[in-house]
């Protein structure tokens, strides 16, 4: 394929890989990036909310030409039972600012744009190329990769593994374990197209404003999981995801869950009459802090979803991916500038820099959350939403029952379903995990 040696090879042109490649190429390093898809984004799936701050740190003027759908002015959280939902809603005109904070994007378009920027910064991108094996020297240091294209191995001083949650390269080389069924969620998603004005009107939006809905409750049928509905300019992304371990036990079909969510009386009118143009599925890392594998070694670092750097509590992943990619790029560029070898001792700089960032700090804050939500999935995802919406209904239905009796009945229902001690312990454990 090529005889030349690169400073660095980046595996993957997703959020993490593009951030890393851009950071290093724009610092004058000789970067080769490999992507197995026909074009960057062709294998990638996201909700997708994109966080401006983390991209701004890489490319301050990204708003000039990035394909952004809508900036978000409203967020709703729904707790659902079979026929109703009780919700929290936050909307603020402050989000109509000159440099909005969160946008919806369409990954296939966004990744293509980001990748163009990476190439403009000087990196070489090879698409339709799957890296199949890491090449090591006799001392075990990673010195390059083999691909499914004919030809010799491609060599570099260091390899950045940005291969996503289901990365085969790093797991097959024994650098980290394959994710466990209880640390990854399977999400399915559809793209529903509607005219812009219809979306504006249904969600009460104007001129590029966007709204997101996140929903939990009986819709996940006793499994730990969430559903979402995000407004794009002329489409709505709608999806649902639950832990793989729980899918395996309940044997629920993911598309069945999605279909039920779409048919829920609270959701159906929002997507009525739309044209579905794509159905996608992808894993999401959910293990949090405790599932983070070794982040660096002799001649390699791992970034983004491949390193489980994903905040399931806040539904953030792309920003952790971009930030870990940027920091890995900065660390590697620093090591190169000091003319030091890309060995483990030096690459530990990446980890110490990452620990100073929100990425590790946030994940550490929620380190007990995944275990709590997953061992208690029935209460958090089914029992409580049901009880809440029943209580709400009782309060809103005007009949001859005195209000005090309604209040007592609601409390009694909670206690009956979960026992006083159980409620207290759930509350305490939630508070501790959230701390």
């Amino acid at each position: 394929m090529t005889e030349e040696k690169f400073d660095v090879i980046v595996i993957g042109a997703g959020m993490a890989g593009n951030a890393a490649a851009y950071t290093m190429a724009s610092r004058g390093m000789k970067v080769l990036q490999l992507e197995r898809g026909e074009y960057p984004g062709s294998k990638n799936v996201q909700g997708a909310i994109m966080y401006a701050d983390m991209l701004e740190k890489i490319m301050p003027d990204f708003r000039d030409d990035a394909p952004l759908e809508r900036h978000l002015v409203e967020q709703r959280f729904w707790m659902m039972d079979d026929t109703s939902h009780i919700g929290m809603q936050y909307r603020s005109d402050d989000f109509n600012e000159s440099r909005p904070n969160r946008y919806t994007v369409i990954r296939a378009q966004f990744d293509k744009w980001f990748s163009r920027k990476v190439r403009e910064a000087g990196a070489t991108l090879l698409c339709e190329t799957t890296a199949t094996e890491l090449v090591r020297d006799p001392k075990g240091k990673v010195i390059g990769v083999r691909t499914d294209r004919a030809g010799e191995a491609i060599l570099a001083d260091v390899v950045v593994l940005a291969e996503g949650v289901n990365g085969l390269l790093g797991t097959r080389a024994g650098l980290r374990d394959t994710p466990k069924p209880e640390t990854v969620a399977l999400a399915v998603k559809e793209m529903h197209f509607l005219p812009e004005e219809v979306i504006d009107q249904r969600f009460g939006l104007k001129a590029n404003e966007g709204c997101v809905i996140e929903a939990a409750g009986t819709i996940t049928r006793n499994m730990a999981g969430l559903a979402f509905l995000y407004t794009n300019k002329e489409s709505i992304s709608i999806g649902i995801g639950c832990l793989v371990s729980e899918f395996a036990v309940t044997m629920e079909s993911p598309y069945d869950l999605l279909e039920r969510f779409k048919n829920h009386p609270s959701v159906k009118p929002l997507i009525a009459g739309s044209e579905v143009k794509e159905y996608a599925a992808h894993l999401i890392p959910e293990g949090g802090y405790k599932a983070i594998p070794p982040l660096f070694g002799h001649g390699w670092v791992v970034v983004g979803d491949a390193a489980q750097l994903n905040n399931a509590v806040h539904r953030e992943g792309s920003n952790l991916a971009m930030t870990s990619g940027r920091i890995a790029g900065e660390a590697i560029a620093q090591i190169k500038n000091r003319k030091k070898p890309m060995i483990k001792e030096n690459l530990s700089l990446y980890k110490s820099m990452l620990e100073q960032s929100f990425v590790i700090k946030d994940l550490r804050k929620y380190k007990d959350m995944p275990a709590l939500l997953h061992t208690n999935s029935r209460n958090f995802f089914t029992t409580y939403p049901k009880l809440l919406s029943q209580a709400a209904q009782s309060f809103m239905r005007v009949d001859s029952t005195p209000k005090l009796d309604k209040e007592r009945a609601a409390t009694a229902a909670f206690i009956k379903a979960r026992s006083r001690l159980g409620l207290v312990s759930d509350a305490v454990r939630l508070a501790l995990a959230w701390r």
Binding site: R36, G37, E38, G41, S42, K43, N44, V45, Q46, A48, D82, T83, I106, R107, A108, Q109, D111, C127, E128, T129, T130, T147, D148, R149, V165, N166, L168, T178, P179, K180, P181, V184, L186, V188, E190, M191, S235, V244, F247, A248, V249, M251, E252, S253, P254, Y255, D256, E259, R260, N263, H264, P265, V276, K277, E278, Y279, A280, A281, H282, L283
Partner: protein
């Protein structure tokens, strides 16, 4: 759930998607077996593209043409040796237009 859900056909959903199938080179294989393991059997309903099906003899078979490369079956069944999992060759497989 009280809402009636008509029998959705996942094939109709997959029909929306764009694929470049690498004919004759399936990227996932099921190990020959007499009885499927619990996890392998679960794939007949958990695979989001319904690639896995039970045949008349009670064994699980795969046709991976509609595979979206999510990796769920790998996470559940690779370690036990029930399946062999690889990405399709570069450029082949599912190609999301939106993602």
């Amino acid at each position: 759930m009280t809402t009636a859900v008509t029998n959705i056909r996942v094939e109709d959903k997959l029909y929306q998607n764009r694929y470049v199938v690498d004919s004759g080179r399936p990227h996932i294989r099921v190990r020959p077996h007499e009885w499927p393991s619990v996890n392998l059997y679960a794939l007949t309903s958990v695979c989001p593209a319904k690639c896995y099906e039970l045949n008349d003899q009670g064994q699980v078979e795969i046709i991976a043409d509609g595979c979206m490369e999510c990796g769920t079956c790998r996470i559940l069944c690779e370690a036990s040796g029930d399946i062999e999992w690889n990405y399709p060759r570069g450029g082949f497989g599912v190609l999301f237009k939106f993602g």
